[in-house]
Every structure is written in structure tokens, then in C-alpha cells.
Amino acid sequence: MEFFKIKKDIPFMRYALVFNVISAVTFVLAVFFLISKGLNFGVDFTGGTVMEVSYTQPANVPQIRDALTKLGFPDAAVQNFGTARDVLIRLPLKKDTSSANLSETVITSLRQTDPAVELRRVEFVGPQIGSELVENGALALLFVSIGIVLYLWFRFEWKFGIAAIIANLHDIVIILGCFALFQWDFSLPVLAAVLAILGYSVNESVVVFDRVRENFRKLRKSNTIQIIDNAITRTISRTIITHGSTQMAVLAMLFFGGEALHYFALALTIGILFGIYSSVLVASPIVMWLGVSREDLMPSKKDTIEDGRP
């Protein structure tokens, strides 16, 4: 079986401007949502308490809200979690309460209305932990970005490093934009997913760039545009198949992994979908705009390496 019987090179670069405009618009929209709505940071970053409780029959959410208001938490967020019987309660940090014992107070009060309620999970994050996590997350993002640029610079040339990181940061910003737009819970696992995408998504760019370099060396008569078109056309089948495989694994996680992995898998899904697009149709045009030329990639000394790259 075969999906891709591409007889001729697809003239991707002819439409480069269109793709770049689409990207730019999406990117600006994502940034707009990030600024206007902001990320809905989870308890990991903001500090506070999250409790997951489970009832034997469908939970009475308004009643739980009342109980919490009586306890002095009018600003508690109460919502169903996965099923009608499971409820997620989020309590913000509060002045002058020993937060560590908060969950006991809450569950005791909930037991008064229904003794069968089960406390499935508590996460309490103190204020200083939250700020540390934000700091570490930002550092990790920086570390990965710089690492990737340096690696690609070392492997190819600075233009490729810049192009790849722009394409990938564009993916990241779009993921974050989605999380801001829909106000999905941005937790620590989601940040991990974002960083994993940052590393994973570069793979495709590397494979295309590899082909571009190979073509520059092999196809002496072609111009830059033809070379890039040919490189993308040759690699598009494996790009789509490999991303498709990863996407299958991630979708399995999204559908079967339960609530705990939901947003993690969601972030990966968005990242992979945009990863296909950006590594092919964002990174390459940027390399083109940056004015990559044969001289950039000609080996300085006699280079007999024949890459076995697809």
C-alpha cells in the first residue's frame, strides 16, 4: 500500500508567501489571546489547593459550592471532572490559613452531606514552589531553544538554526495560544509536553534541511527554489507517516489516558499537527528568505560523505 505517488516536485515555494502570511496571522492571533486572556495557569504555578473527590452517585455541584462558601471559600472553582460523579475543586491560596490542613477541613464538611464521598487526590502547592516552577519552566524553554539553535548551527549553518527555531517557537506559541483561547488548564505536564514538542518537531526540519544540503551538492543545475521544492517533495511521505504514527500514540493517550493525561495529550496533538506544517512550510521559506546559497553549504574541505538520508 502506498499513499504518496508524487510524480513531480510540488512547487511549495511558489506559495511560500501565502503560507508565511497564514503563519503570521495565526501567530499574531495566538499572541493576542495570550495577552488578552492569558494562560489559565494550573495550581502547579499559581499555588493553591486542588482536590479531586468522588461520589457514589452524580455529584451535586451547587451544594458543594455552598458548602465551600460557608467555609469561607466563595472563590473556589468547582467542576465535574471526567464523569458526573467526580468533582474537581480548586482553592486559591488564602491569607492566614494553614493551607496544609485545608483539604481536611473541606473533606470533613463534604462528608456531612454525603458520608460516602471519597477523596481521590489532593495537590497543595505553596506559594514559593509555584514561583520556582515558573522560573524553572522558563529556564528549560530557554535551554532547549539555545541548544537546538547551536546544534543546527553546528550541523548545518546559522540560517538553518534560526529558521528551525522560529518555526518551532511558532508551534509553541500556537499551542499556548490555543490554551489561552480555550482557557485550558496549563499545568506542569503540559509544559513538559510543550518542551517535548520543541525537541521533537525539529526532527522534521532536520530531515528536510539534510535533503536540501544533499541536493545543493548533487543537483548543480537547479536553483534554490527547485532544490527546496525537491527536498520537501522527497521527504513529505515520511514526514506525514512518522507524524501520523506519533499522532496515533498521542490520540490513544487522549482517548484512553483519562483526565490526568488529557491536557498533556491535547498539547501534544496540537503540537504535532502544527509541527508537520511548520517544519515543512515555515522553516523552509524562512531559510529561503534568509538567502541560503550553495556556498553556505559547500564543505570547506573535500567532503566525501554520502548521506544515506531519505
Binding site: K8, K94, D307
Partner: protein, 641 residues
């Protein structure tokens, strides 16, 4: 062309077999057990085990095995119900000198245990339990140390007959001694310098004042902090022992933090209560010269203070602290033989005993009060619930004293090294109080700054869901690969299966902790690892299309694939590394599995699948056709070579 030497086949086979053996323990699950561990003063031996077994037989409780090991004794049961029933029985039998805890032990068969093959350790989010991160209030440690030095200085100066004006601890840290003139200051500096080696002294000239300023040396500051942390860890260990936890983890993290993990603990309220408390006793005299009623109406005499008894009644105590919980070296709950009410008997250190003897000797017939003090430390928050930071950007802490007078008995006779506290409500209270005292007053207040608790049912759910994600993802990819690449697809799927097995084996060998994000990373690895095989298969197809022979195509497809795969995985490794360096807890678990998964996939996608392709096709002289899906079409390219 497509042949490995025999040693290479054998090497791959050996690696795969080892992988299977070490991955195997993970499928046997666990069985319920009761673990009896010794405390510092006792040990678990054959005699004790025999006694426990006898008791179980006598009560008709079925157990499947009982054995001794380094950690103590372990007794296996068929189900959790019997296990819980047996735990209570055993606890009664051996008393509270031993830690009796419920545990789930891996049901690894003996032949695997011989080669030291053990299952992965399940993280708290998969087995249920409590994780606490505690912050030790080091500022309080230093303050206390400086207060002690202040007392020492006064004593030294008095003993050496040096005239001084004042000795004060400054609010911002440091101690100042003021003298009347230069000569006295010279003398004073000489004596304190000789005695107090942990301090640095400097002379300060201020108009009309002769001052010595003292600061703790940086080395002694770190020493003090380290000591406080160690003492806290020790007392936490003692407290956890009382909770009866099978495999607790108590570790230092960073400069001033302690991680406590209690797998399988259900009663988090009790755990928090016991771990989070800093308690001490203050022994003071009751002020009987003054009128309580007068004090209540606001006429509090100088040198005394109003306190509350446990039952809410007010009581007037003299401010002078006779001695404190620091002087207590041991305490035990018990029963008073005459009144058969619960008591706590207390043993004092030499200094405490000397003071106790003197004070009680002088005050027979008067009342002495035992004041129970709990120090709770919280982070100060502003109106919006954000932490208030000090000048150095560290959160400001507020300590609160919660006090109540436990008892104020009349001193009937002179007391010494040992005495008992009466007036407790219940046996349980006696147990708790003595535990808190025995565990020692914490050297520094601690605050729980992070808690993650997972109930057992959620843990089981998480395992099931994580496993299902991996399984479904694998099945979907396998189906696609076999349909799309036929025989080569089958080879790829076999390689992918080997990859998962090797990854699990590696994690088991390292005794890594498997968490839910770790399981997610395995699922993600399954998706990403197939990348290498797709790369190889597509390349083989391309070679075939270009009219090469099947053997040459296979060769070209695999040749240098490792370099390519390595290349496209380096960036993911960079990301994994960053997650490992900057992440904590669950994220770190994700990172470890991600990085290891990339490494195992490099081996299995290239070597293992190549070996299979070689075995299948490599030996054939006249290979006309290989099964890798349809490749019978030609491409034309715009780009001219």
C-alpha cells in the same frame, strides 16, 4: 551484502533475552503483606516471627508465607481484608516497640529474584500515598542560636567580672555588647573571643559608646543549618515510624528542604498532623500570690501572664521558664498504677534534672504548670494571596505559637530526673504527646510547602489508563505498519516491541520510579520510535523505484540509518535533558523515560530490525522481490542532476 557475522546475531539475541528477563517481573503484580520492622531499640528475629505466626494460627488467619529479611519480617496474605485484620492482631501482639505496616510486595517468582530482576518501583500517583515537601525555617534556627549566644556572653562576662552595660541581639541579626570605657571593652573582647569560637568580633566606635559587635561565622551558620536539617530528618523518621509506613522516603532536598514520601498512607490528616507539628513543653510555676480574678479584669501582675488550660479555664503563670522540652531526652505513654489514668512519663537530661531538683525542692506544696507549645510556621501572604517577599526575594514567614497548659499539678515531693505528667484525656492523647516529645522538639519550625496525595483507587485507575494508552497506541501503529509495509512492516513492529521491552527492562534495572507521566512517555516513545523504521522503509522503497536490486536497496536503506536517526533524535534528547535538569517530580520521571526511550529505539530500530531483515532476505542469492508494499511507479523530477 546483507549478512551480519554470527557474533552480532548472538549479541543482539543475548541483549533481547536479557531485556525480556528483566522486563518480566513487571507483569506479576503484587501481593498484600504485613511488614514488621524494628525500631532503634528493638530487633526482629526468628523468635518474634515464630511468636507472630503462632498468634495468627491461633486466630485462624491464613497466611501464605512468612520470612525474615534485612528490613525485618514479611508475612504474605491472600487478600487485603485478611491483611488488614492480621495487621491489627500483630500490632497488638508485638506492641508499639515495632513498626507494623501494610505493604504491597512484588510477586516476583524466585527464579527471577535470583538474577536480581525486580519490577519498576511504582510512583505515588500509581500506588497511592502522600508526598510532602517541607521547608525548614532556617532563619528561626539562627535566631535561636544567637539568643543562646547572648545568654552565654552575659554569663561569661559576669563570671570573668567584666563590667558591661548591655548585651543585645539585634533584630537584623548579630549581637552587640556595650561597655562603659575602652579598658573594659578590651577585657571583654578578650574573654568572649576565647570562649565563643563560632563568632566573629569587631570593635565599633560610636560617639560616647564602646561597642563590640558579634556575628556568627559563615561556616558555623551552615553548620547550624545542616545540623537543624539533620535533626529534623531524624525526628521525621521517628514520627513516620509511629505512623507505620512500609517504605517511607525521607530525604534532604536542596539547602533547607525535606521530601517525605509515604506510599500507601490513607489517613493523610493524621500524617500531616504528626509530621507538621513542632511541639515542646515549657515548665513554669503557677503564680499563686496574685489573684486570678484581678488578672482577668486586666490587672496582670508584672512577671506573669495569663494562659488557658485544656478545658478552657484561665490560669496565671510566672513568666520565668524553668526548663523546656529541649531538656527532655525520653518520654513514654503509660498508665498510672493508682488512678489507672493515662500518663506520660518523662526523662530529663542532666541540666534539666538539676534544675528540676532544685526548683521542686524549693517549692513543695506549690503548683507547677506544664505548658504545651506548638509552633506553626506559615508563609506570609498579602491581600491577593501572593507571598510577601523580603529584601532578598525570599518569602517572609510568620510563626505562630499555639499554647495550652496541659496540667498544673501540686508538687508533692522533690522531683529529679524522672517524673510523670498526668491530667491527659485519653490513651491516644498520651501516645501522641509522648511521641511528639520523644521525637524531640524540632530544631527548627517546618512548614509543608507542597503536598500531593493520591488515593489508592485513583492510583489503580491511573495504571489501567496509562497501560491502555500504551497498548492502544501500539496496536494502532502495528496495524498501520503491517498494512503499509507488509513484511517490512512486520519487522518494524517486532523491533518496536523489542524497544518497549528493552525500555521497561532498563527502567527496572535502574529501579526507576514509574509515574503516570512516565507511562505517557512510554506511549510517546512508541509513537516516536517507529520514525526510524519509517525512515528506513521509505528509503528502501525509493532505492527500489530507482531500479536498484532488492539486496542493494535493503543495504542502502539501512546503511548509515543510525547516523540519521541519531541526528533526528538529538534535539529531542536536548529537550529531555532540559526537562530533567529543570524539572522536578513527575516531569523528571517523564524526562528520564523519554531519554532512555530514545536510546533504546536507536538500538532496536536499527540493529534488531536489520538483523531480522538479514535473516529473512540476506541469505538468498537470487532475491527477485521483497515485500515492502507497492513500489511499482516511477517519479520524474524537475530538479536535474
Amino acid at each position: 551484502m546483507n549478512k551480519y557475522p554470527l557474533w552480532k546475531y548472538l549479541l543482539i539475541l543475548v541483549i533481547v533475552v536479557i531485556g525480556f528477563v528483566y522486563a518480566l517481573p513487571n507483569i506479576y503484580g503484587e501481593y498484600p503483606a504485613v511488614q514488621i520492622s524494628p525500631t532503634r531499640t528493638t530487633k526482629v528475629d526468628q523468635a518474634l516471627l515464630a511468636r507472630v505466626e503462632g498468634k495468627l494460627k491461633q486466630s485462624n488467619i491464613a497466611y501464605t508465607a512468612a520470612a525474615l529479611d534485612e528490613q525485618g519480617a514479611r508475612i504474605r496474605f491472600v487478600d487485603t481484608e485478611t491483611q488488614i485484620h492480621a495487621r491489627d492482631l500483630i500490632q497488638n501482639e508485638v506492641g508499639d516497640k515495632y513498626v507494623v505496616a501494610l505493604n504491597l510486595l512484588p510477586a516476583t517468582p524466585a527464579w527471577l529474584a535470583v538474577v536480581n530482576a525486580r519490577p519498576m518501583y511504582l510512583g505515588l500517583d500509581l500506588r497511592g500515598g502522600v508526598h510532602f515537601l517541607m521547608q525548614v525555617d532556617t532563619a528561626a534556627v539562627l535566631k535561636k542560636a544567637e539568643e543562646n549566644y547572648t545568654d552565654d556572653m552575659r554569663r561569661i562576662l559576669r563570671e570573668k567580672k567584666v563590667q558591661y552595660l548591655t548585651v543585645n541581639r539585634l533584630e537584623r541579626g548579630g549581637i552587640e555588647i556595650r561597655f562603659r570605657d575602652k579598658a573594659e571593652r578590651e577585657k571583654g573582647l578578650e574573654v568572649v573571643r576565647k570562649e565563643l569560637l563560632d563568632l566573629e568580633f569587631s570593635e565599633i566606635e560610636r560617639s560616647g559608646d564602646f561597642v563590640i559587635s558579634a556575628q556568627m561565622k559563615p561556616t558555623s551558620v551552615t553548620e547550624k543549618n545542616r545540623f537543624a536539617l539533620e535533626q529534623n530528618i531524624t525526628s521525621l523518621q521517628n514520627r513516620v515510624n509511629e505512623l507505620g509506613v512500609a517504605e517511607p522516603i525521607i530525604q534532604q532536598q536542596g539547602q533547607d528542604r525535606i521530601v517525605v514520601q509515604l506510599p500507601g498512607v490513607q489517613d493523610t490528616a493524621k500524617a500531616k498532623e504528626i509530621l507538621g507539628r513542632t511541639a515542646t513543653l515549657e515548665i513554669m510555676m503557677v503564680d499563686e500570690e496574685h489573684d486570678l480574678a484581678g488578672a482577668l479584669s486586666g490587672q496582670i501582675p508584672a512577671g506573669s501572664k495569663l494562659y488557658k488550660m485544656r478545658d478552657g479555664r484561665p490560669i496565671l503563670l510566672k513568666n520565668r521558664l524553668i526548663y523546656s522540652g529541649d531538656n527532655i531526652i525520653d518520654s513514654a505513654p503509660g498508665f498510672d498504677s493508682q488512678s489507672s489514668t493515662p500518663i506520660v512519663s518523662i526523662t530529663l537530661d542532666a541540666r534539666g534534672a538539676a534544675i528540676n531538683q532544685r526548683v521542686t525542692g524549693e517549692n513543695v506544696g506549690k503548683r507547677m504548670a506544664v505548658n504545651y507549645v506548638e509552633i506553626k510556621s506559615d508563609t506570609k501572604l498579602d491581600e491577593q494571596g501572593r507571598p510577601v517577599l523580603d529584601a532578598n526575594g525570599r518569602p517572609v514567614r510568620v510563626t505562630r505559637r499555639v499554647e495550652e497548659v496541659i496540667t498544673a499539678p501540686v508538687i508533692r515531693s522533690q522531683l529529679g530526673k524522672r517524673f510523670q505528667i498526668e491530667g491527659l484525656d485519653s490513651v491516644q492523647e498520651a501516645n501522641e504527646l509522648s511521641l511528639l516529645l520523644r521525637a524531640g522538639a524540632f530544631a527548627a519550625p517546618v512548614e509543608i510547602i507542597e503536598e500531593r496525595t493520591v488515593g489508592p483507587s485513583l492510583g489503580a485507575d491511573n495504571i489501567a489508563k496509562g497501560f491502555q494508552s500504551i497498548w492502544v497506541g501500539f496496536a494502532a501503529i502495528a496495524l498501520f505498519m503491517i498494512v503499509y509495509y507488509v513484511v517490512f512492516g512486520f519487522i518494524s513492529v517486532a523491533a518496536l516491541a523489542v524497544n518497549v521491552v528493552l525500555l521497561v527492562a532498563l527502567l527496572s534495572m535502574l529501579q526507576a520510579t514509574l509515574t503516570l507521566p512516565g507511562m505517557a512517555a512510554i506511549a510517546l516513545t512508541v509513537g516516536m520510535a517507529i520514525d526510524a523504521n519509517v525512515l528506513i522503509n521509505e528509503r528502501i522503497r525509493e532505492e527500489l523505484r530507482n531500479g536498484n536490486t532488492p539486496q542493494a536497496s535493503i543495504y542502502a536503506g539501512y546503511e548509515r540509518a543510525f547516523g540519521t536517526i541519531f541526528d533526528s533524535n538529538v534535539t529531542t534528547l536536548i529537550a529531555g535533558l532540559a526537562l530533567f535538569l529543570f524539572g522536578s517530580g513527575a516531569v523528571r520521571g517523564f524526562a528520564v523515560v523519554l531519554c532512555l526511550g530514545i536510546m533504546t529505539s536507536m538500538f532496536s530500530a536499527v540493529m534488531v530490525s536489520r538483523a531480522m531483515a538479514n535473516l529473512l532476505y540476506g541469505g538468498r542469492r537470487k532475491l527477485e522481490k521483497i515485500s515492502i508494499g507497492n513500489t511499482a511507479w516511477k517519479e520524474t523530477s524537475l530538479a536535474q542532476g
